[in-house]
């Protein structure tokens, strides 16, 4: 025990700051004795830490100084609470309005908060997320200036990267697919089936349950199941080493492991994880055939920028003389879900939408706070006497300030408790609306609790502080003399807050109307094809041989008009090809989108041929003569225009699609939207190819849909027993293109509705107070001969004026902001004046109705009752 070892001074200081004086001597002695006895047995540090521990353990009621336990503030606090509760109780109407407003506002914020938390939590469970990148392929063809980018890469990329760049620790290729899995003898299409390299386990998070991760995906036809997939196919037996049959030919896959269900807040998710080599695709041949996603784990996050440079140089030498340029961009993994223009396996969410939601939540809170401020300042005359008496008795300004803050805090805390209940009730519906799986337990996470607490405190301060300042500033002499009136400045503040509230509501309503307009436009615009009453049935290549039989059998039913086989439905055509015509200069090409179809496609989908003719059965046969094939093409208007032809001039011209498809242009169709309306219409080629398959389109009559569908199902089961029967309607596919927009639309409508209701509730409360204060004026006007209508007009007019000002302010703001949202669409509605006029009218009518309640009630009053008591 050296002379320098003394108990830590700060701990001692802390101890004396709270310890009762009469205990000081014995406690200090005890702790010191403990400290020195510790020093003999343990290290200096341990002894010191233990001293701290002992000091903190003296924070017990019995040892605390009286002034801490029974400080005067505590009594004041108690008294403030009591007064707060009593005052809230006495003014039931405004308390109810505030409570309702705050609860609705806070519930909205909690829901938005849950949504945001879920979106921000995407991929955060991946430990390597900072070091992982996704490769984006950037490519163009010689002779074309167009550069394209996409989240797809070829099989060659991952092995090349691992071999070439020492910065790469691991690379994994992944792709997802719908795979038919046989459960006993029932084929089930599993959509959550994913193929990945065994390096998946080096790069990504997983929680292993059975089997051995290190070799689970080595070799072809190995599959790892998640717990729920294992349960579904094998029940409670261990699936290890067992076999799953997949596909129409019942390919066996060996189950080599079971892992925990993959988190849902991930950019990829699956129930089956099969080895990448099962796909049997060529490993090294080409940079084209880019159908897979490649993720790369870097050794060090700082390698990203230098590696990007190396990749660019490397790829430009690799591609020399190949007629195309390809480069790979490294995209940080944790940026993908919210920031990337390229989708993950799970659809991305645009960060803009999250900002919009945040702003909406904030605006709703503002409305609620303003209502509180307005109602409490409007009531200030009633509270003035209380303030005066308190001041005379000796309360100082700050005590009064905290008393009024106390009131708003009580209200806020009550509302947040109610809100949690509301959220519990509303969450399932909100989930339906947003197609999320938000769960209540996210509400108890520390981040969420802290932010809820902070929001509550901020709202109490924000809403409470202005009334608190005003009320605590009253001069007792003036108040108690009884000649006290609402100040002019107070009125001005009330008016500007009302204007502000209605600016917010009008803004939200205008935005919602325009968003809904655009959505209506998207859903009802003539897209150039018919999407009603068309069934989409996914098909297999094995079905190509039986196709004529299948078509004939289906068409035997008079309800079925046409049956067409194609690769892509007209809703979304993605296949990128290059084309050439004889007239084009050597070595130039035109990049186009192309879709293999059959002779019934145009009829089935109602495309309009504006020049030339549709494909014939003979055309189809021409395309299937091995080396002697001649192809037939139908262009869209844009393609003809791009090539410099009028639709008529294009007919009969020769062209090549890709390298090996020579043929003749037979027809031109009117432009139709084969991508979402965010994109403008690109050049498109429809061509005859016997081997193209993917979907069967069945156009049916609208008369008896269910029985027609069951007829198709019956035929399918009979003719195609090896592939499950599944169908979608084409218009559902179409709506899926705009899923995030449609969601935004519904969410905006919901919250805009909430905003206007809250603003009106505030207006209702305030108007009732102000009308109350003007009762004498009303009575005198009546005595002098004013009619009920005159009085109602006078009283309502002053409010409507404010709402009008608000609308005038809100419209340009909404115009500017919504214009930016609309810019994302290549095809959009014009914002016409009537949209704004309609929104304005809606707001005025709603507010007029709200105010009229009170003013008409006041106008009916018998003047004698108010005037007799002066």
């Amino acid at each position: 025990m050296g002379p320098y070892h003394k108990p830590p001074a700060y701990a001692k200081k802390l101890l004396f700051s709270f310890l009762r004086n009469d205990l000081a001597e014995e406690v200090e002695g005890d702790l010191e004795e403990r400290f020195y006895s510790d020093l003999k047995r343990k290290s200096h540090l341990r002894a010191k830490l233990n001293y701290w521990y002992q000091v903190i353990n003296y924070l017990r009621p019995f040892a605390l100084r009286k002034s801490i336990v029974h400080f005067n503030r505590y009594d004041m606090f108690q008294s403030n609470m009591k007064v707060a509760v009593r005052s809230l109780w006495r003014h039931k109407a405004s308390t109810f309005i505030n409570l309702f407003g705050l609860t609705v506002g806070l519930s909205s914020c909690l829901l938005i908060g849950l949504y945001l938390q879920n979106e921000y939590s995407f991929d955060t469970f991946q430990d390597n997320r900072k070091r992982t990148v996704r490769l984006i392929m950037e490519y163009g063809f010689d002779g074309s200036t167009e550069i394209k980018r996409g989240n797809y890469t070829s099989t060659k990329v991952a092995p090349t990267f691992s071999r070439t760049f020492p910065e790469v620790e691991a690379a994994v290729r992944m792709t997802d697919s719908d795979v038919v899995v046989w459960n006993n003898d029932v084929p089930i299409t599993e959509t959550r089936f994913m193929y990945a390299d065994s390096s998946f386990f080096d790069v990504f998070h997983y929680e292993w349950l059975q089997g051995n991760a290190s070799n689970a995906l080595h070799g072809a036809r190995k599959v790892v199941l998640t717990q729920s997939a294992a349960q579904k196919y094998f029940g409670n037996e261990s699936p290890l080493g067992k076999t799953l049959l997949t596909g129409s030919d019942r390919t066996p896959y060996e189950v080599t492991g079971v892992m925990k269900d993959y988190p849902s807040n991930s950019q990829f998710t699956f129930d089956f994880l099969a080895s990448f080599s099962s796909l049997g695709v060529n490993q090294e041949e080409t940079y084209f055939n880019a159908n897979y996603t490649t993720y790369v784990l870097l050794k060090n996050i700082y390698d990203l920028a230098p590696l990007q440079e190396k990749v660019t140089t490397f790829m430009s030498t690799e591609m020399k003389g190949s007629g195309a340029t390809i480069n790979f961009l490294l995209e940080p993994f944790d940026q993908i879900h919210l920031h990337s223009p390229y989708q993950g396996f799970v659809p991305n969410t645009s960060i803009t939408y999250l900002y919009i939601l945040m702003a909406v939540g904030f605006l709703i809170l503002m409305i609620v706070c303003f209502t509180y401020i307005n109602l409490s300042t409007a009531r200030s005359i009633e509270r003035a006497k209380e303030v005066g008496v308190r001041k005379v008795v000796g309360a100082d300004k700050s005590q009064l300030f905290w008393q009024f803050i106390g009131e708003s805090t009580v209200l806020c805390v009550m509302s947040i408790v109610l809100s949690v209940g509301v959220v519990m009730f509303a969450l399932p519906y909100f989930n339906l609306l947003t197609e999320k799986h938000l769960e209540m337990h996210a509400l108890t996470s520390p981040v969420f609790l802290t932010s809820a607490f902070v929001i509550t405190m901020v709202v109490s301060l924000l809403a409470g502080s202005y009334p608190a300042v005003i009320l605590s500033g009253f001069q007792p002499v003036r108040v108690l003399k009884g000649v006290f009136k609402n100040t002019n400045s107070g009125k001005r503040i009330q008016q500007s807050l009302i204007v502000f509230q209605f600016v917010i509501s009008a803004f939200l309503i205008v935005s919602t109307i325009i968003i809904q307009n655009q959505l209506y436009y998207i859903q009802h615009k003539d897209v150039g094809y018919d999407r009603e009453q068309i069934l989409v049935l996914p098909m297999k290549n094995k079905m190509l041989e039986q196709l004529s039989v299948i078509k004939k059998e289906l068409k035997s039913n008079a309800e079925i008009l046409n049956v067409s086989r194609c690769v892509s439905t007209p809703v979304r055509i993605v296949g990128g090809y290059s084309m050439r015509t004889a007239e084009m200069p050597e070595n130039t090409i035109l990049p186009v989108i192309a879709n293999p179809i059959d002779e019934e496609y145009v009829k089935t989908t109602g495309l309009e041929i504006i020049a030339g003719r549709d494909f014939s059965e003979q055309d189809m046969k021409d395309a299937d003569r091995d080396s002697l094939s001649t192809f037939h093409f139908i262009l869209n208007e844009s393609a003809a225009r791009e090539l410099g032809w009028s639709p008529e001039a294009a007919i009969g011209r020769k062209m090549f699609l890709g390298d090996h498809r020579p043929g003749i242009i037979e027809g031109v169709v009117r432009d139709f939207h084969f991508e979402s309306m965010h994109q403008s219409i690109k050049p498109l080629v429809l061509f005859t190819e016997m081997r193209g398959y993917g979907q069967l389109l069945v156009k049916i009559r609208s008369s008896n849909v269910p029985s027609t569908v069951s007829f198709v199902e019956g035929k399918w089961k009979q003719l195609v027993p090896y592939f499950p029967f599944e169908y979608r309607f084409l218009d559902d596919d179409y709506n899926k293109l705009y899923q995030s927009e449609l969601q935004l639309g519904t969410i905006m409508s919901l919250f805009a509705g909430i905003a206007i209701v809250l603003a009106c509730i505030g207006l209702f409360g305030l108007s009732s107070h102000i009308v109350q204060q003007r009762l004498k004026e009303v009575s005198i006007r009546k005595v002098l001969g004013a009619s009920v209508l005159d009085i109602a007009a006078i009283l309502s007019g002053s409010f409507v004026k404010l709402v009008l000002i608000a609308i005038v302010i809100a419209i340009p703001i909404a115009y500017l902001i919504i214009d930016r949202w609309l810019e994302d669409f290549a095809y959009r509605v014009a914002m016409s004046w009537w949209t704004f006029a309609l929104a304005g009218l809606v707001v005025i009518i709603i507010s007029l109705v709200t105010v009229s309640f009170q003013s008409i009630k006041a106008a009916w009053i018998n003047p004698a009752t108010t005037l007799k008591s002066e």
Partner: protein, 113 residues
């Protein structure tokens, strides 16, 4: 049920105070508790319990003589009261009677004074 108003931890502390006699002050009791039970306990927790026991009348306390070893600071020495003794005994008798009714152990003769 015999009302002893004595929790388990309280009972142990009370017993230790009795065992330590002249040396029964918060630090020593906490030290002894740790030594006998192998459980960590803070002096504050023991002190708090001692205070409560005193309030209940099981203990009395008095400041002791000042000694050099703790910088001349005095200790508060706790002594068990007659009521405390009685309560301890009642608590033990109650448990013994329970043990005697317990089928697996009823044959074992417990020494009771």
């Amino acid at each position: 049920m015999i009302e002893t108003r004595l929790g388990e931890f309280e009972e142990v502390i009370l017993l230790l105070a009795g065992i330590l006699g002249e040396e029964a002050y918060a630090f020593k009791i906490a030290d002894e508790f740790e030594a006998q039970t192998n459980r960590a306990v803070s002096i504050g927790a023991v002190h708090s319990t001692l205070t409560r026991l005193e309030e209940k009348g099981f203990l009395e306390s008095e400041m002791g003589e000042s000694t050099a070893e703790r910088g001349g600071r005095r200790k508060r020495i706790y002594t068990i009261t007659a009521y405390g003794q009685k309560t301890l005994k009642a608590s033990r008798d109650f448990k013994v009677s329970l043990w005697n009714q317990f089928p697996g152990f009823a044959t074992i003769k417990l020494i009771v004074d």
